[in-house]
């Protein structure tokens, strides 16, 4: 084990980690909005709204992320003339844009499926009560269904966040310098294979469990009304029992 090479390459690895985190956060923010809209269309009774999103979800959940990245990054090259004409080619030329677009579409599909389950798990009585109060449509979604559904979706969504964070390592294949990309470049130069890769792995591990910890805190905070209340008399009772 050569520790010097780890110390020397650590700043570069941190730079890579920064790109990884950045692309994860952007993909999550945009993907969240997309997934909410898609999930609402998915539970709609209108078949014209439902059918296209079913196809979208099935495609992005049924194919590997790598195929999706290649389809957008290399595949767009086949339509270069058309894309240039509508002025989008300069976007599709950039690996960063293609990677972000793919990750957004991918996490959008997975999260939409999570949100759909959560929306359908909102107790029917609550929706009926809201309707009886005169709410419908967007107001019903905004005030009653979405807040409840998001709380129900949180555990599954935290898994999706971890999944997305880890799948960003694939963007290194289309030349982006994320944590995996930086590690691969350093290894190609120094041949210190496992020192570098294991350091990169530990960085991923640290962020993953950090994020999980934050989610656990949020979950704890949001479920306060469901927990048993602390009994202020318990301490006194225990003390009495100890004396008896």
């Amino acid at each position: 084990m050569d520790t010097q090479v780890i110390i020397d390459s650590f700043p570069a690895l941190l730079d890579g980690l920064w790109l990884t985190v950045e692309i994860t956060v952007y993909a999550l923010l945009i993907g969240f909005c997309l997934a909410t809209a898609v999930a609402m269309m998915r539970v709609s009774r209108n078949i014209l709204l439902r059918a296209p999103v079913i196809a979208y979800i099935f495609f992005f959940r049924g194919t590997p992320l790598l195929v999706q990245i290649f389809l957008i990054y290399y595949g767009s090259g086949q339509f270069r003339a058309e894309l240039t004409q509508i002025g989008l080619w300069h976007l599709f030329r950039e690996p960063y844009f293609c990677a972000l677009l793919t990750l957004v579409l991918n996490t959008g599909a997975y999260s939409a499926e999570i949100f759909r389950g959560a929306i359908q798990a909102v107790p029917h009585g609550e929706v009926e009560a809201a309707r009886a109060c005169g709410m419908s449509g967007w107001l019903l979604y905004r005030r009653i269904i979405l807040p409840k559904a998001m709380r129900l979706a949180l555990p599954a969504y935290s898994n999706e966040v971890i999944q997305l964070f880890q799948s960003t390592s694939l963007v290194s294949i289309i030349t982006l310098m994320d944590l995996t990309g930086v590690a691969r470049t350093i290894v190609a130069r120094t041949f210190d294979v496992y020192e570098i890769y294991i350091t990169a792995g530990l960085l991923y591990l640290a962020v993953t469990y950090g994020v999980l910890w934050v989610f656990r805190l949020v979950e704890h905070r949001l479920s306060g009304h469901l927990r048993e209340r602390e009994d202020p008399a318990a301490a006194v009772r225990d003390a009495l029992r100890a004396r008896a």
């Binding site: 495609f59 194919t63 790598l66 999706q68 995996t180 890769y197 991923y204 591990l205 469990y209």
Partner: protein, 229 residues
Amino acid sequence: MFDLKGYGWMLWEGLAMTLTVGACALLLAVVMGLLGAWGKLARNPAARLAASTYTTVIRGIPELLLLLIVFYGTPTLLQKLAETMGHDIRVDFNAFTAGVMTLGFIYGAFATEVFRGAFLAVPRGQVEAAYACGMSRALAFRRVMLPQIWRFALPGLGNVWMVLIKATALVSVIQLDDLMRKSFIAMGVTKLPFDFFFVAAMMYLGITAVSMIGQQQIERWANRGVQRA
């Protein structure tokens, strides 16, 4: 629909390789999963620690990085070990072995959780009844536990397979001729990237669809003796 310029056969070859890697990796994952579940439920604290370290580490590191660690790291590690013992050897890791081992190892961690749940789902009283009838631990495991574990584990294992078969796309990174790499090669010659990757995507989608139907059939068959509510 698509003119593949006579390169369609390459994709079929790639598909065969993808399925082979997937099947071998699944087999390894099931073995690792049973071992892991046994470790997690063992009374021995060392076994418990080993099993939970295994699932914790695997869950926290991206598959691609693990693949690179196994494929490039293991030969170097073995060579350095041999060097310290005074031997000069050259280890070359076959891409197929590395791919199967990594994927099996990764999804073994997920299978561990599946089997752990299945072990716990077998009613304790049945096992006690088996002991009371004079069965040994091994016999009770084979006759009473195993037939039910496999039934409880099926839905979870189906999910592991679906995720695993998609993860096989990564082995193209270590130059194994799977569906992805074959599409990549065909794309290089024909300059039709969208067509080839789209057809490859459709093939993966086909695998997913067939797996979903197959999973339903197997589950129905496995649950044929169970009353439904």
